[in-house]
Symmetry: C2
Subunit: 220 residues, 2 copies
């Protein structure tokens, strides 16, 4: 049975605003005032403010005397984040290959199987499963970071990965990239399963590099 910790309004608002900013629903320069958010979201200022403080801490908004200005993630940010990922994620994957437990492997496999399911489904009936695929992609990477057993790697890589969502979403719309991304994930998984740090590292770096190329050639 799964523990069900009730999620506070403040947390929900945070998640929603973070998501909406990172996918570009609120555009760079747009001003969010507490009052407007209260009205549009139907809650009091307290949870709104707490969410805004967290978003500010993540540097995706910035407080001014006229309200919170949306910063968001630029193409240049994206480029730099990939550069960082290409150097750090490989190290994390190597750690994970050393440390991951059978339970951890099982969880990752489950995610991969689902991802495989949706990719094959798109191949078969040409349906759009890109949102599911993107979420499973996120989950795969989150687990990769978690099972490194290192808070520092997790805290460094997860925010970067999260901030790329808009661009990853666009990349996965191209089904050929979605298919290739999955097969790269499967390769990384096999390296983790074999507890081969060097291989996991190299495949992960390659994966990041290809993801970058596929995203940067898009216009977005």
């Amino acid at each position: 049975m799964k523990e069900h910790k009730s999620i506070s309004i403040a947390d929900q608002i945070f998640e929603q605003l973070e998501h909406d900013i990172l996918i570009g629903k609120y555009q760079r320069g747009e001003i969010l005032t507490e009052l407007k958010l209260c009205q549009s979201l139907g809650v009091s200022r307290t949870p709104i403010r707490e969410a805004l403080r967290r978003l500010e801490q993540e540097h995706i908004i910035e407080e001014t005397s006229r309200g919170a200005v949306v910063i968001g993630i630029s193409r240049e940010d994206l480029f730099d984040m990939y550069e960082i990922r290409m150097h750090v994620e490989g190290l994390a994957a190597a750690r994970t290959a050393e440390k991951i437990s059978d339970e951890g492997l099982a969880k990752m496999k489950e995610v991969l199987d689902l991802q495989r399911y949706y990719v094959d489904k798109t191949d078969a009936d040409n349906s759009d499963n890109s949102d599911n695929i993107k979420n499973l992609d996120s989950e795969f990477h989150r687990l990769l970071y978690i099972f490194s057993g290192s808070k520092a790697y997790y805290d460094t890589l997860l925010p970067i990965h999260k901030k790329m969502i808009k661009y990853r979403k666009a990349a996965v719309k191209s089904h050929s990239r979605a298919r290739q991304s999955l097969s790269e994930h499967e390769g990384i998984y096999r390296a983790l399963e074999a507890h081969d740090p060097e291989l996991a590292k190299n495949l992960t770096i390659e994966h990041a590099s290809r993801a970058r190329d596929s995203i940067l050639e898009k216009e977005i």
Copy 2:
């Protein structure tokens, strides 16, 4: 004349709590309740809560039903953070060497001159300037990140550097390390001044590596 944006109570509380947690005044596992913080700091819950939400976002506290549990930074975290820094900070330094302006160089020089002043002072009269030296060290690195012109590098490196404060403080207590650290900074500065990315990168990596060794051999 310096612009003086009045700092809110919430911000002050955040800075203070963050500092106190990171230097270990509040120890791992300790529970901070809003009411106690209100009483000891003499303010209402609102600014306390906003500070706590930000600390939670940084993963240095964790909310539970009994209050906010202090997480802090362990020796293992420190090790991993150095590993990450050694791979990322060099890239940032190379960027900075490419991009830094004369004004930027002047600011960094000013910090270095002050650091030199305090180090020489300690040499001369054996006074304890370690706190000043540590702060100037922080400022040097902050400027290095800023002048990379990259939000991604700044957002990745600054939190890591900040979280090391307790350990860096201890390292700088050893005056021989303080002196060496300064001379390494001066070397990096010259590479920036010469706009030599490769050299800046290599010296920065070396600097991080030596800082790590000097910290890891301490007991703390």
